[in-house]
């Protein structure tokens, strides 16, 4: 049976993981490769790296990080942030990323989704949608949630899937950072609007919220950052809690032996 995926997300600045990951066993909490290996061993099903490097002069730092991660980590990972053209997609995929995520650039030029899907396959094109409640629906925001795009989030979801997006990463800006649960109505509306997997993001405070997103919200995967990075909940704990509620998850393998 296909399982629901648990996906830790890392913010990366100049090739280093930022936003304080606090694990005592880490020698270097900013090393993406060490973190990725740790989360892999912990049972993460995929990883997402969001590059927040401000200066394009520092772009090469993320290339090194992607290549180093691909050398050592054998589960799928997605890279988002700074992907503005198909050439950026090509570089990331060739360096070893399995998927690329686009947000602002897709809103600015939606053909980027078509071109990416046509050149590299829908399976590696993730469209990230930052949505904020507006009236009866949700509005799309770009530039890291700072700029309202003036388009309806559900209509946008349908459009990008039609254009070839293979997956949607849906972040509720209302719920993000509050750890009070995902926006279930948003997730459900998204999941009903499209026939590609939906990753729920924004608002996870614990396993109960994730369970809601995967059942009531009908999401296929849940993404979270702080609750994993600050050690509030381990991936193993989350998976055990989900399994106890009858949600299919890939069990965490016992520590590798010989």
């Amino acid at each position: 049976m296909l399982t629901k995926r648990i996906i830790p997300c890392f913010d990366v600045d100049r090739g280093r993981v930022v936003k304080g990951v606090s694990f005592v066993e880490l020698r270097d909490a900013g090393d993406p490769v060490e973190l990725a290996r740790l989360y892999d061993a912990e049972g993460a099903d995929e990883l997402v790296f969001l590059d927040i490097t401000a200066s394009s002069d520092d772009r090469a730092t993320v290339y090194d990080m992607v290549a180093a991660t691909a050398d050592q980590v054998f589960i799928p990972f997605t890279v988002g942030g700074g992907i503005r053209a198909t050439v950026d997609m090509k570089i990331m995929l060739e360096l070893g990323a399995d998927k690329v995520s686009v947000n602002t650039a897709a809103v600015a030029s939606p053909e980027l989704v078509n071109e990416g899907a046509w050149r590299f396959g829908s399976q590696c094109i993730v469209v990230a949608i930052d949505a904020k409640r507006a009236g009866d629906g949700w509005e799309v925001y770009t530039h890291g949630g700072r700029t309202p795009a003036g388009i309806d989030a559900i209509a946008w979801a349908r459009e990008v899937v039609e254009r070839g997006a293979g997956e949607l990463l849906v972040t509720s800006m209302d719920a993000d950072g509050r750890q009070r649960g995902y926006d279930l109505a948003l997730l459900r509306a998204m999941s009903e609007a499209v026939n590609v997997p939906v990753i729920a993001s924004g608002g996870a405070g614990g396993p109960a919220h994730m369970a809601e997103a995967l059942t009531e919200g009908r999401a296929d995967a849940v993404l979270a950052a702080s609750i994993f990075h600050f050690g509030t909940h381990s991936i193993r704990e989350v998976k055990e809690a989900l399994a106890a509620r009858g949600i299919p998850v890939r069990p965490v393998e016992p520590p590798a032996g010989g």
Partner: protein, 224 residues
Amino acid sequence: MTVARGRAYTGTVSAQPLLVVVDYDAGNLRSVERALAHAGMAATVSADPAELARARGAILPGVGAASDTMAKLRARGLEGPLREFIASGRPFLGVCMGLQALLDRSEEGGGQECLGVLPGEVRHFGFERLKVPHMGWNQVAWTREHPIMAGIADGAWFYFVHSFYPAPADPALTLGETTYGFTFPSVLARGNVAATQFHPEKSGAAGLRLYANFAGWVREAAGA
């Protein structure tokens, strides 16, 4: 799982390549190469038919569309060399699109003739209720013994991304099965050919074990 890295073939020009990963501009070549290195066998990524002809084992990886895959294989003059390699009896592994390319034809893109190494066709999931692609971790139930599944648990988890599934003409080709909506053959094997619908290079320890098993099969067949 502890594995030695990068032993075996060291990659000099004159040496005979032990294992070739067939390069036809498929996006995930490097992932396959890295996973093989991690599993203890250095491979040569090559589009050179002469190098393929000398190899003792070969892997056809792949992501994307069947029509695109077949067009690229033909454009690079690899279709004939691939058939010759497979006919020679040396171990061959197809991965994802590399599995689908081995069958007679695919429904993808309105119909695409494939290599016809294994009898059968590739069909679209065509679900209304379930999402397509089938994307994520799912289990494989082995239906028999084979060198590539040695030591991998029945019901082991692997990472899948695909919208089309193999429907071999002969049920005896099936080596492993997976359920998504219905049960389909997710691993095929006959003689020197084995193929997985999932991506071993993205399936953690179980996937690395499968590549280590394939490398062992190649070494044994080569008498190395």
